[in-house]
Protein backbone atom coordinates (compact mmCIF):
# COMPACT_ATOMS: atom_id res chain seq x y z
CA UNK A 1 0.00 0.00 0.00
CA UNK A 2 1.36 3.44 -0.93
CA UNK A 3 2.34 6.02 1.66
CA UNK A 4 -0.30 8.61 2.66
CA UNK A 5 0.00 11.96 0.88
CA UNK A 6 -2.03 13.73 3.54
CA UNK A 7 -1.43 12.99 7.20
CA UNK A 8 -3.16 14.98 9.95
CA UNK A 9 -2.40 14.24 13.58
CA UNK A 10 -4.22 15.58 16.64
CA UNK A 11 -5.44 18.71 14.89
CA UNK A 12 -6.93 21.27 17.27
CA UNK A 13 -8.59 24.12 15.40
CA UNK A 14 -11.50 26.54 15.49
CA UNK A 15 -12.57 30.10 14.95
CA UNK A 16 -11.85 31.71 18.34
CA UNK A 17 -8.54 31.32 20.17
CA UNK A 18 -8.89 28.91 23.09
CA UNK A 19 -12.31 27.67 21.93
CA UNK A 20 -11.53 24.92 19.41
CA UNK A 21 -14.15 23.06 17.41
CA UNK A 22 -11.79 20.19 16.54
CA UNK A 23 -10.18 18.61 19.63
CA UNK A 24 -7.44 16.47 18.12
CA UNK A 25 -8.62 14.98 14.84
CA UNK A 26 -6.35 12.60 12.93
CA UNK A 27 -6.68 11.21 9.40
CA UNK A 28 -4.60 9.75 6.55
CA UNK A 29 -5.31 9.86 2.81
CA UNK A 30 -3.37 7.87 0.22
CA UNK A 31 -2.94 8.59 -3.50
CA UNK A 32 -5.90 7.41 -5.59
CA UNK A 33 -8.04 6.96 -2.51
CA UNK A 34 -11.40 8.52 -1.68
CA UNK A 35 -11.81 9.15 2.01
CA UNK A 36 -15.07 10.47 3.42
CA UNK A 37 -15.58 12.09 6.79
CA UNK A 38 -19.08 11.68 8.18
CA UNK A 39 -20.67 12.70 11.44
CA UNK A 40 -23.57 14.60 12.95
CA UNK A 41 -24.07 18.35 12.51
CA UNK A 42 -21.61 20.28 14.66
CA UNK A 43 -19.10 17.43 14.71
CA UNK A 44 -16.40 19.74 13.34
CA UNK A 45 -16.11 18.09 9.90
CA UNK A 46 -16.13 21.30 7.86
CA UNK A 47 -13.95 23.11 10.40
CA UNK A 48 -11.43 20.29 10.15
CA UNK A 49 -11.25 20.62 6.34
CA UNK A 50 -10.93 24.39 6.67
CA UNK A 51 -8.13 23.90 9.17
CA UNK A 52 -6.29 21.67 6.68
CA UNK A 53 -6.93 24.33 3.98
CA UNK A 54 -5.48 27.10 6.16
CA UNK A 55 -8.76 28.97 6.51
CA UNK A 56 -9.37 28.79 10.27
CA UNK A 57 -7.30 29.17 13.40
CA UNK A 58 -4.91 26.20 13.66
CA UNK A 59 -4.04 25.80 17.34
CA UNK A 60 -2.02 22.58 17.52
CA UNK A 61 -1.32 19.26 15.88
CA UNK A 62 0.55 18.47 12.68
CA UNK A 63 -0.39 18.21 9.02
CA UNK A 64 1.94 16.73 6.42
CA UNK A 65 1.06 17.06 2.76
CA UNK A 66 3.20 15.29 0.15
CA UNK A 67 5.97 14.90 2.70
CA UNK A 68 6.06 18.52 3.82
CA UNK A 69 4.99 19.88 7.17
CA UNK A 70 2.16 22.28 6.32
CA UNK A 71 0.71 22.66 9.83
CA UNK A 72 -1.07 26.01 10.07
CA UNK A 73 0.33 27.24 6.75
CA UNK A 74 -1.79 29.87 4.92
CA UNK A 75 -4.00 28.84 2.00
CA UNK A 76 -1.98 30.53 -0.74
CA UNK A 77 1.06 28.41 0.19
CA UNK A 78 -0.90 25.14 0.32
CA UNK A 79 -2.19 25.43 -3.23
CA UNK A 80 1.39 25.68 -4.49
CA UNK A 81 2.22 22.45 -2.65
CA UNK A 82 -0.52 20.56 -4.48
CA UNK A 83 -3.52 20.85 -2.16
CA UNK A 84 -6.86 21.87 -3.68
CA UNK A 85 -9.96 22.80 -1.73
CA UNK A 86 -13.61 23.16 -2.78
CA UNK A 87 -15.63 24.88 -0.03
CA UNK A 88 -19.26 23.97 0.62
CA UNK A 89 -20.80 27.40 0.09
CA UNK A 90 -19.53 30.25 -2.01
CA UNK A 91 -17.34 27.88 -3.98
CA UNK A 92 -17.42 29.97 -7.17
CA UNK A 93 -17.06 33.70 -7.70
CA UNK A 94 -20.60 34.61 -8.73
CA UNK A 95 -19.60 38.05 -10.02
CA UNK A 96 -16.81 36.69 -12.22
CA UNK A 97 -17.31 34.87 -15.51
CA UNK A 98 -16.63 31.14 -15.83
CA UNK A 99 -13.41 31.98 -17.64
CA UNK A 100 -12.35 34.39 -14.89
CA UNK A 101 -13.19 31.78 -12.23
CA UNK A 102 -10.87 29.33 -13.96
CA UNK A 103 -8.17 31.99 -14.33
CA UNK A 104 -8.47 32.58 -10.58
CA UNK A 105 -8.10 28.83 -10.08
CA UNK A 106 -4.80 29.07 -11.95
CA UNK A 107 -3.70 32.20 -10.10
CA UNK A 108 -0.39 30.65 -9.05
CA UNK A 109 0.50 29.42 -12.56
CA UNK A 110 2.70 31.15 -15.11
CA UNK A 111 0.96 32.69 -18.14
CA UNK A 112 2.03 29.80 -20.40
CA UNK A 113 0.91 27.13 -17.90
CA UNK A 114 -2.38 28.94 -17.40
CA UNK A 115 -3.08 28.92 -21.12
CA UNK A 116 -2.38 25.17 -21.38
CA UNK A 117 -4.50 24.31 -18.33
CA UNK A 118 -7.39 26.47 -19.54
CA UNK A 119 -7.39 24.67 -22.89
CA UNK A 120 -7.32 21.28 -21.12
CA UNK A 121 -10.11 22.27 -18.72
CA UNK A 122 -12.35 23.45 -21.56
CA UNK A 123 -11.71 20.14 -23.30
CA UNK A 124 -12.58 18.19 -20.13
CA UNK A 125 -15.66 20.28 -19.35
CA UNK A 126 -17.30 21.30 -22.65
CA UNK A 127 -20.19 22.91 -20.76
CA UNK A 128 -17.79 25.41 -19.23
CA UNK A 129 -16.27 26.12 -22.63
CA UNK A 130 -19.69 26.84 -24.12
CA UNK A 131 -20.62 29.24 -21.34
CA UNK A 132 -17.23 30.74 -20.60
CA UNK A 133 -18.55 34.31 -20.74
CA UNK A 134 -21.46 33.63 -18.36
CA UNK A 135 -21.05 34.77 -14.77
CA UNK A 136 -20.86 32.17 -12.02
CA UNK A 137 -24.03 33.59 -10.49
CA UNK A 138 -26.27 32.40 -13.33
CA UNK A 139 -25.18 28.75 -13.16
CA UNK A 140 -27.34 25.98 -11.70
CA UNK A 141 -26.21 24.15 -8.55
CA UNK A 142 -24.70 21.28 -10.54
CA UNK A 143 -22.95 23.60 -12.97
CA UNK A 144 -21.52 25.60 -10.08
CA UNK A 145 -20.18 22.42 -8.52
CA UNK A 146 -18.62 21.44 -11.85
CA UNK A 147 -17.02 24.87 -12.10
CA UNK A 148 -15.83 24.68 -8.48
CA UNK A 149 -14.16 21.31 -9.08
CA UNK A 150 -12.70 22.48 -12.42
CA UNK A 151 -11.34 25.59 -10.69
CA UNK A 152 -9.70 23.49 -7.99
CA UNK A 153 -8.17 21.19 -10.63
CA UNK A 154 -6.53 24.05 -12.53
CA UNK A 155 -3.32 23.60 -10.53
CA UNK A 156 -3.27 19.79 -10.91
CA UNK A 157 -3.53 19.14 -7.16
CA UNK A 158 -2.32 15.81 -5.80
CA UNK A 159 -4.78 16.11 -2.94
CA UNK A 160 -8.26 17.59 -3.30
CA UNK A 161 -10.58 18.31 -0.39
CA UNK A 162 -14.29 18.89 -0.89
CA UNK A 163 -16.74 20.16 1.69
CA UNK A 164 -20.17 18.64 1.00
CA UNK A 165 -19.80 18.58 -2.79
CA UNK A 166 -23.35 17.31 -3.34
CA UNK A 167 -25.23 19.62 -0.98
CA UNK A 168 -28.43 20.86 -2.61
CA UNK A 169 -27.94 18.90 -5.84
CA UNK A 170 -30.49 16.66 -7.57
CA UNK A 171 -29.90 12.87 -7.37
CA UNK A 172 -28.83 12.78 -11.03
CA UNK A 173 -26.23 15.51 -10.52
CA UNK A 174 -25.06 13.87 -7.27
CA UNK A 175 -24.28 10.77 -9.33
CA UNK A 176 -22.33 12.83 -11.86
CA UNK A 177 -20.29 14.59 -9.15
CA UNK A 178 -19.42 11.29 -7.46
CA UNK A 179 -18.51 9.75 -10.83
CA UNK A 180 -16.14 12.62 -11.54
CA UNK A 181 -14.53 12.18 -8.10
CA UNK A 182 -14.07 8.47 -8.79
CA UNK A 183 -12.43 9.44 -12.07
CA UNK A 184 -10.06 11.78 -10.25
CA UNK A 185 -9.09 9.07 -7.79
CA UNK A 186 -8.38 6.68 -10.66
CA UNK A 187 -5.91 9.25 -11.98
CA UNK A 188 -4.07 9.04 -8.65
CA UNK A 189 -5.49 12.12 -6.95
CA UNK A 190 -6.16 11.72 -3.23
CA UNK A 191 -9.74 12.79 -2.48
CA UNK A 192 -10.88 13.81 0.99
CA UNK A 193 -14.48 14.90 1.40
CA UNK A 194 -16.99 15.76 4.04
CA UNK A 195 -20.52 14.62 3.19
CA UNK A 196 -23.95 14.76 4.78
CA UNK A 197 -25.13 12.39 2.04
CA UNK A 198 -23.14 9.77 3.93
CA UNK A 199 -24.46 6.55 2.41
CA UNK A 200 -23.98 7.66 -1.19
CA UNK A 201 -20.55 9.07 -0.39
CA UNK A 202 -19.38 5.91 1.37
CA UNK A 203 -20.50 3.80 -1.59
CA UNK A 204 -17.89 5.47 -3.80
CA UNK A 205 -15.27 5.80 -1.04
CA UNK A 206 -12.44 3.53 -0.04
CA UNK A 207 -12.35 4.50 3.60
CA UNK A 208 -14.24 6.66 6.04
CA UNK A 209 -13.86 8.44 9.34
CA UNK A 210 -16.65 9.19 11.78
CA UNK A 211 -16.30 12.42 13.75
CA UNK A 212 -18.41 13.47 16.71
CA UNK A 213 -17.96 16.46 19.00
CA UNK A 214 -14.74 17.39 17.28
CA UNK A 215 -13.06 14.02 17.89
CA UNK A 216 -12.41 10.81 15.92
CA UNK A 217 -15.06 8.26 16.78
CA UNK A 218 -14.40 5.56 14.22
CA UNK A 219 -12.14 4.78 11.26
CA UNK A 220 -12.75 1.89 8.90
CA UNK A 221 -13.13 0.89 5.28
CA UNK A 222 -16.16 2.45 3.61
CA UNK A 223 -17.68 -1.01 3.13
CA UNK A 224 -17.39 -1.76 6.87
CA UNK A 225 -18.90 1.60 7.83
CA UNK A 226 -21.84 0.98 5.52
CA UNK A 227 -22.75 -2.25 7.34
CA UNK A 228 -21.85 -1.12 10.85
CA UNK A 229 -25.11 -1.06 12.83
CA UNK A 230 -24.04 1.84 15.06
CA UNK A 231 -23.03 3.98 12.09
CA UNK A 232 -26.13 2.96 10.18
CA UNK A 233 -28.37 3.90 13.09
CA UNK A 234 -26.72 7.26 13.66
CA UNK A 235 -25.81 8.49 10.20
CA UNK A 236 -27.18 6.30 7.46
CA UNK A 237 -30.88 6.40 8.17
CA UNK A 238 -31.29 3.33 10.36
CA UNK A 239 -30.22 -0.32 10.28
CA UNK A 240 -32.57 -1.47 7.58
CA UNK A 241 -31.14 1.16 5.19
CA UNK A 242 -27.55 0.39 5.93
CA UNK A 243 -26.94 -1.66 2.81
Amino acid sequence: MSEPVLIARDVVAGYVPGMPICHGVSIDVRPGEIVTIIGPNGAGKSTFLKALAGLVLFESGTVHCLGQDVSGRPSHELIQLGLGFVPQTGNVFTGLTIHENLVMGGHTLSAAELKTRLARTYEQFPLLAERRSATGGVLSGGQRQTLAVARALMTDPRVIMLDEPTAGLSPRVVGEVFASLRGLAQEGVAVLMVEQNAKAALRISDRGYVLAEGRNRMAASAADLLVDPAVGEAFLGGKRHAR
Binding site: H76, F93, T94, M104, T108
Partner: protein, 300 residues
Protein backbone atom coordinates in the same frame (compact mmCIF):
# COMPACT_ATOMS: atom_id res chain seq x y z
CA UNK B 1 -28.63 78.36 -16.39
CA UNK B 2 -29.56 74.65 -16.22
CA UNK B 3 -26.92 73.77 -18.80
CA UNK B 4 -24.23 75.51 -16.74
CA UNK B 5 -25.42 73.75 -13.55
CA UNK B 6 -25.26 70.41 -15.37
CA UNK B 7 -21.73 71.12 -16.62
CA UNK B 8 -20.64 72.15 -13.09
CA UNK B 9 -22.37 69.05 -11.75
CA UNK B 10 -20.37 66.79 -14.08
CA UNK B 11 -17.16 68.48 -12.95
CA UNK B 12 -17.97 68.11 -9.24
CA UNK B 13 -19.28 64.60 -9.92
CA UNK B 14 -16.06 63.56 -11.65
CA UNK B 15 -13.99 64.59 -8.64
CA UNK B 16 -16.41 62.88 -6.26
CA UNK B 17 -16.35 59.75 -8.43
CA UNK B 18 -12.56 59.41 -8.10
CA UNK B 19 -12.90 59.62 -4.34
CA UNK B 20 -15.91 57.30 -4.30
CA UNK B 21 -14.10 54.62 -6.32
CA UNK B 22 -11.38 54.51 -3.65
CA UNK B 23 -13.94 54.31 -0.84
CA UNK B 24 -15.87 51.64 -2.72
CA UNK B 25 -12.77 49.53 -3.38
CA UNK B 26 -11.59 49.72 0.20
CA UNK B 27 -15.02 49.01 1.67
CA UNK B 28 -15.37 45.87 -0.46
CA UNK B 29 -11.85 44.56 -0.14
CA UNK B 30 -10.92 45.79 3.33
CA UNK B 31 -14.49 45.32 4.62
CA UNK B 32 -14.96 48.65 6.35
CA UNK B 33 -16.01 52.21 5.50
CA UNK B 34 -12.82 54.23 5.64
CA UNK B 35 -13.65 57.69 6.99
CA UNK B 36 -10.00 58.73 6.68
CA UNK B 37 -10.12 58.31 2.89
CA UNK B 38 -11.05 61.97 2.39
CA UNK B 39 -7.89 63.04 4.23
CA UNK B 40 -5.87 61.24 1.56
CA UNK B 41 -7.44 63.71 -0.90
CA UNK B 42 -6.12 66.58 1.21
CA UNK B 43 -2.67 65.03 1.55
CA UNK B 44 -2.43 64.34 -2.17
CA UNK B 45 -3.38 67.93 -2.96
CA UNK B 46 -0.83 69.37 -0.53
CA UNK B 47 1.97 67.01 -1.60
CA UNK B 48 1.42 68.23 -5.17
CA UNK B 49 1.43 71.83 -3.93
CA UNK B 50 4.76 71.27 -2.19
CA UNK B 51 6.27 69.83 -5.37
CA UNK B 52 5.04 72.77 -7.48
CA UNK B 53 6.47 75.21 -4.92
CA UNK B 54 9.95 73.73 -5.33
CA UNK B 55 9.82 72.89 -9.03
CA UNK B 56 10.20 75.43 -11.79
CA UNK B 57 6.64 76.23 -12.78
CA UNK B 58 7.42 76.70 -16.49
CA UNK B 59 5.06 78.24 -18.98
CA UNK B 60 1.41 77.17 -18.84
CA UNK B 61 0.54 74.35 -21.24
CA UNK B 62 -1.69 75.80 -23.97
CA UNK B 63 -4.82 77.33 -22.51
CA UNK B 64 -4.32 75.64 -19.11
CA UNK B 65 -3.35 77.65 -16.03
CA UNK B 66 -0.47 75.35 -15.09
CA UNK B 67 2.75 74.03 -16.53
CA UNK B 68 4.35 70.59 -16.71
CA UNK B 69 5.40 70.78 -13.08
CA UNK B 70 1.81 70.23 -11.93
CA UNK B 71 1.44 67.21 -14.20
CA UNK B 72 4.58 65.69 -12.68
CA UNK B 73 3.20 66.69 -9.28
CA UNK B 74 0.05 64.66 -10.02
CA UNK B 75 2.18 61.56 -10.62
CA UNK B 76 4.40 62.15 -7.61
CA UNK B 77 1.51 62.97 -5.28
CA UNK B 78 -0.37 59.89 -6.51
CA UNK B 79 2.54 57.61 -5.68
CA UNK B 80 3.37 59.27 -2.35
CA UNK B 81 -0.26 59.28 -1.23
CA UNK B 82 -0.44 55.58 -2.08
CA UNK B 83 2.66 55.08 0.08
CA UNK B 84 1.06 57.16 2.85
CA UNK B 85 -2.03 54.94 2.68
CA UNK B 86 0.15 51.85 3.08
CA UNK B 87 1.99 53.41 6.03
CA UNK B 88 -1.34 54.19 7.74
CA UNK B 89 -2.45 50.62 7.06
CA UNK B 90 0.73 49.20 8.58
CA UNK B 91 0.53 51.44 11.64
CA UNK B 92 -3.19 51.11 12.33
CA UNK B 93 -5.45 48.97 10.18
CA UNK B 94 -3.22 45.93 9.63
CA UNK B 95 -2.63 45.64 13.38
CA UNK B 96 -6.38 45.68 13.93
CA UNK B 97 -6.95 43.13 11.14
CA UNK B 98 -4.41 40.79 12.72
CA UNK B 99 -6.44 40.98 15.95
CA UNK B 100 -9.61 40.11 14.01
CA UNK B 101 -11.13 43.52 14.80
CA UNK B 102 -14.71 43.90 13.57
CA UNK B 103 -15.67 46.46 10.96
CA UNK B 104 -17.07 48.89 13.54
CA UNK B 105 -13.71 49.00 15.30
CA UNK B 106 -12.05 49.69 11.95
CA UNK B 107 -14.51 52.52 11.24
CA UNK B 108 -13.79 54.17 14.59
CA UNK B 109 -10.06 53.75 14.02
CA UNK B 110 -10.48 55.48 10.65
CA UNK B 111 -12.12 58.45 12.43
CA UNK B 112 -9.02 58.73 14.59
CA UNK B 113 -6.71 58.43 11.60
CA UNK B 114 -8.71 61.16 9.82
CA UNK B 115 -8.30 63.54 12.75
CA UNK B 116 -4.56 62.96 12.93
CA UNK B 117 -4.03 63.34 9.17
CA UNK B 118 -6.16 66.50 8.99
CA UNK B 119 -4.37 68.17 11.88
CA UNK B 120 -0.98 67.22 10.48
CA UNK B 121 -1.91 69.09 7.28
CA UNK B 122 -2.86 72.09 9.39
CA UNK B 123 0.42 71.86 11.27
CA UNK B 124 2.62 71.48 8.18
CA UNK B 125 0.93 73.72 5.61
CA UNK B 126 -1.10 76.13 7.77
CA UNK B 127 -4.78 77.08 7.74
CA UNK B 128 -4.73 79.59 4.84
CA UNK B 129 -6.23 78.85 1.45
CA UNK B 130 -3.58 78.10 -1.17
CA UNK B 131 -3.53 77.80 -4.96
CA UNK B 132 -1.50 75.87 -7.50
CA UNK B 133 -1.27 78.82 -9.83
CA UNK B 134 -1.93 82.53 -9.90
CA UNK B 135 -2.63 82.49 -13.65
CA UNK B 136 -5.98 83.94 -14.62
CA UNK B 137 -8.22 81.95 -16.90
CA UNK B 138 -11.19 83.02 -18.94
CA UNK B 139 -14.06 80.59 -19.32
CA UNK B 140 -14.99 79.84 -22.90
CA UNK B 141 -18.39 78.90 -24.19
CA UNK B 142 -18.19 75.24 -25.20
CA UNK B 143 -21.93 74.89 -25.85
CA UNK B 144 -24.67 77.53 -25.89
CA UNK B 145 -25.10 78.69 -22.30
CA UNK B 146 -22.27 76.53 -20.95
CA UNK B 147 -18.94 78.11 -20.09
CA UNK B 148 -16.03 76.12 -18.75
CA UNK B 149 -12.44 76.96 -17.86
CA UNK B 150 -9.77 75.01 -19.77
CA UNK B 151 -8.63 73.53 -16.42
CA UNK B 152 -12.12 72.21 -15.85
CA UNK B 153 -12.18 70.56 -19.29
CA UNK B 154 -8.76 69.02 -18.49
CA UNK B 155 -10.08 67.67 -15.17
CA UNK B 156 -13.14 66.13 -16.83
CA UNK B 157 -11.08 64.58 -19.62
CA UNK B 158 -8.46 63.10 -17.29
CA UNK B 159 -11.18 61.74 -14.99
CA UNK B 160 -12.73 59.86 -17.91
CA UNK B 161 -9.31 58.48 -18.93
CA UNK B 162 -8.60 57.35 -15.34
CA UNK B 163 -11.97 55.60 -14.97
CA UNK B 164 -11.52 53.75 -18.27
CA UNK B 165 -7.93 52.83 -17.33
CA UNK B 166 -9.00 51.53 -13.94
CA UNK B 167 -11.82 49.54 -15.52
CA UNK B 168 -9.35 47.87 -17.89
CA UNK B 169 -6.99 47.04 -15.00
CA UNK B 170 -9.78 45.58 -12.87
CA UNK B 171 -11.24 43.64 -15.77
CA UNK B 172 -8.18 42.21 -17.47
CA UNK B 173 -5.13 42.22 -15.20
CA UNK B 174 -4.43 39.42 -12.72
CA UNK B 175 -4.23 41.99 -9.94
CA UNK B 176 -7.58 43.47 -10.92
CA UNK B 177 -9.17 40.03 -11.06
CA UNK B 178 -7.70 39.20 -7.65
CA UNK B 179 -9.13 42.43 -6.28
CA UNK B 180 -12.58 41.61 -7.64
CA UNK B 181 -12.31 38.04 -6.37
CA UNK B 182 -11.27 39.17 -2.91
CA UNK B 183 -14.05 41.73 -2.81
CA UNK B 184 -16.53 38.91 -3.37
CA UNK B 185 -15.02 36.15 -1.24
CA UNK B 186 -11.71 36.55 0.60
CA UNK B 187 -11.77 32.90 1.70
CA UNK B 188 -12.20 31.56 -1.83
CA UNK B 189 -9.56 33.98 -3.13
CA UNK B 190 -7.14 32.60 -0.53
CA UNK B 191 -7.95 29.05 -1.58
CA UNK B 192 -7.08 30.07 -5.15
CA UNK B 193 -3.63 31.16 -3.97
CA UNK B 194 -4.19 34.91 -3.73
CA UNK B 195 -1.90 36.56 -1.19
CA UNK B 196 -4.34 38.67 0.77
CA UNK B 197 -1.80 41.19 2.04
CA UNK B 198 -0.54 41.85 -1.49
CA UNK B 199 -4.05 42.64 -2.70
CA UNK B 200 -4.69 44.79 0.38
CA UNK B 201 -1.48 46.73 -0.29
CA UNK B 202 -2.42 47.38 -3.91
CA UNK B 203 -5.92 48.39 -2.88
CA UNK B 204 -4.44 51.08 -0.66
CA UNK B 205 -2.12 52.21 -3.45
CA UNK B 206 -4.95 52.50 -6.00
CA UNK B 207 -7.31 54.16 -3.51
CA UNK B 208 -4.55 56.54 -2.37
CA UNK B 209 -3.59 57.49 -5.92
CA UNK B 210 -7.20 58.17 -6.94
CA UNK B 211 -7.75 60.19 -3.75
CA UNK B 212 -4.64 62.27 -4.46
CA UNK B 213 -5.76 63.00 -8.01
CA UNK B 214 -9.26 63.92 -6.81
CA UNK B 215 -7.68 66.23 -4.23
CA UNK B 216 -5.47 67.90 -6.83
CA UNK B 217 -8.45 68.35 -9.17
CA UNK B 218 -10.43 69.87 -6.33
CA UNK B 219 -7.52 72.17 -5.46
CA UNK B 220 -7.11 73.13 -9.10
CA UNK B 221 -10.75 74.00 -9.68
CA UNK B 222 -11.46 75.51 -6.24
CA UNK B 223 -8.63 75.99 -3.73
CA UNK B 224 -6.57 74.07 -1.20
CA UNK B 225 -7.64 74.11 2.43
CA UNK B 226 -6.80 71.66 5.24
CA UNK B 227 -10.48 70.77 5.54
CA UNK B 228 -11.02 70.30 1.79
CA UNK B 229 -11.15 66.49 2.09
CA UNK B 230 -13.36 66.57 5.15
CA UNK B 231 -15.79 68.85 3.29
CA UNK B 232 -16.03 66.29 0.49
CA UNK B 233 -16.31 63.27 2.80
CA UNK B 234 -20.07 63.07 3.02
CA UNK B 235 -20.56 63.58 -0.71
CA UNK B 236 -17.95 60.90 -1.48
CA UNK B 237 -19.51 58.38 0.92
CA UNK B 238 -22.94 59.15 -0.49
CA UNK B 239 -21.64 58.60 -4.03
CA UNK B 240 -20.08 55.27 -3.03
CA UNK B 241 -23.24 54.08 -1.25
CA UNK B 242 -25.52 55.36 -4.02
CA UNK B 243 -23.52 53.56 -6.68
CA UNK B 244 -23.47 50.29 -4.79
CA UNK B 245 -20.42 49.46 -2.76
CA UNK B 246 -17.78 47.65 -4.78
CA UNK B 247 -19.05 48.75 -8.16
CA UNK B 248 -16.61 50.90 -10.16
CA UNK B 249 -19.22 52.25 -12.52
CA UNK B 250 -21.66 52.52 -9.63
CA UNK B 251 -19.24 54.84 -7.86
CA UNK B 252 -18.88 56.90 -11.04
CA UNK B 253 -22.65 57.14 -11.47
CA UNK B 254 -23.03 57.89 -7.76
CA UNK B 255 -20.47 60.69 -8.00
CA UNK B 256 -22.21 62.19 -11.02
CA UNK B 257 -25.66 62.00 -9.42
CA UNK B 258 -24.44 63.70 -6.23
CA UNK B 259 -22.49 66.32 -8.19
CA UNK B 260 -25.44 67.07 -10.47
CA UNK B 261 -27.90 67.15 -7.57
CA UNK B 262 -25.70 69.56 -5.62
CA UNK B 263 -25.31 71.94 -8.53
CA UNK B 264 -28.89 71.70 -9.80
CA UNK B 265 -30.26 72.23 -6.29
CA UNK B 266 -29.05 75.83 -6.24
CA UNK B 267 -31.62 76.58 -8.96
CA UNK B 268 -34.44 75.85 -6.52
CA UNK B 269 -33.00 76.24 -3.01
CA UNK B 270 -30.61 78.84 -1.52
CA UNK B 271 -26.96 78.01 -2.21
CA UNK B 272 -26.35 77.85 1.57
CA UNK B 273 -28.30 74.60 1.65
CA UNK B 274 -26.33 72.99 -1.17
CA UNK B 275 -24.19 71.05 1.29
CA UNK B 276 -27.30 69.37 2.69
CA UNK B 277 -28.15 67.74 -0.64
CA UNK B 278 -25.83 64.73 -0.16
CA UNK B 279 -27.45 64.17 3.27
CA UNK B 280 -30.88 64.04 1.66
CA UNK B 281 -29.67 61.69 -1.09
CA UNK B 282 -28.00 59.47 1.49
CA UNK B 283 -31.21 59.20 3.53
CA UNK B 284 -33.28 58.42 0.44
CA UNK B 285 -30.81 55.79 -0.80
CA UNK B 286 -30.55 54.08 2.57
CA UNK B 287 -34.34 54.04 2.84
CA UNK B 288 -35.32 52.93 -0.66
CA UNK B 289 -32.27 51.14 -2.10
CA UNK B 290 -29.63 50.43 0.56
CA UNK B 291 -27.68 48.20 -1.84
CA UNK B 292 -27.18 51.19 -4.17
CA UNK B 293 -28.00 51.64 -7.83
CA UNK B 294 -25.73 48.88 -9.16
CA UNK B 295 -25.26 46.87 -5.96
CA UNK B 296 -26.85 43.48 -5.39
CA UNK B 297 -29.38 43.00 -2.63
CA UNK B 298 -28.21 40.70 0.15
CA UNK B 299 -31.74 39.69 1.07
CA UNK B 300 -33.06 36.56 -0.60
Amino acid sequence: MIGQAIADGFLTGGILALGAIGVSLSSQILKFANFSHSELLTWGAYIALTFTMFATAGAPIGPLSFGWSLLFAVLLAGVLTGVLAIIVDRLVFRRLRSRHANSLTMVFASFGVALILRNLVLLIWGPEAQYYTSELQIATEILPGIRLLPDQVFVLGLTIVLVIGLHLILKYSRLGMSMRAMAESPALARVCGVKIETVVRWTWVVAGMLAAIAGIFSGLTVQLRPEMGFNLLLAILTAAILGGSGSLFGAVIGGLVVGLAENLSVLVIPANFKAAVPFMILILVLYFRPQGLLGKSETK
